[in-house]
């Protein structure tokens, strides 16, 4: 597609349940990023994939969070045993390897609410 697609757009889950969030990057973009945005806050880096290199997981807040990127395209962010503090908007972005500056395109995000 023309942009970064994320699904679902909204997710309400019960505390303790696992959730999976999906990101479809722009075709040809080798880099993929996940960010988390809490209400009224900035964007917090979670994880970064670049081609076939090992992902940069330095931003994942706990071992309940994990992400995969299959075939260098679609990515899934999984949160296990969700907690109320996990409630946030999860944003995905993609770019080409050589992109700097304005080459990053964001999706509209998944709003996760843990009740």
């Amino acid at each position: 597609g023309a942009g970064v697609s994320q699904s679902p757009s909204n997710k309400v889950t019960e505390k303790g349940k696992d959730v999976e969030l999906r990101c479809d990057p722009i075709s040809g973009h080798t880099a993929l990023y996940w960010y988390r945005q809490s209400l009224g806050q900035g964007l917090e880096f979670l994880i970064y994939f670049q081609g076939n290199s090992a992902p940069d997981k330095s931003g994942l807040p706990s071992d309940r969070f994990s992400a995969e990127r299959t075939g260098g395209s679609v990515s899934t962010l999984t949160i296990q045993r969700t907690q109320q503090e996990d409630s946030a908007v999860y944003l995905c972005a993609s770019s080409r390897r050589e992109d700097r500056g304005g080459g990053y395109t964001f999706g509209s995000g998944t709003r996760l609410t843990v009740v």
Binding site: Q41, D56, G107
Partner: protein, 112 residues
Amino acid sequence: GESVGLHLPTLSVQEGDNSIINCAYSNSASDYFIWYKQESGKGPQFIIDIRSNMDKRQGQRVTVLLNKTVKHLSLQIAATQPGDSAVYFCAEIHNAGNMLTFGGGTRLMVKP
């Protein structure tokens, strides 16, 4: 740790006036600075960027100024319109990688 941050959380301007949104950064090892606009329910949208070897860059109705001496970045919007109402984030890219580091955001409210 090093970070990118903003001075003003909310800015209210009259339609037609110019807006200035400010950002302070502390990491000298960044080679790109970017401004994003985020409207409610949407992801951040690229506005303009500037390389660290420049001090000014102009786009359509927007200008970004970079002062490396005091580590300050600003976004100027000329003739602000109601459609400019949004949250604006500055971000930086470290010259050793591709990761964006974001500031906390400034909400711009345009009064008709």
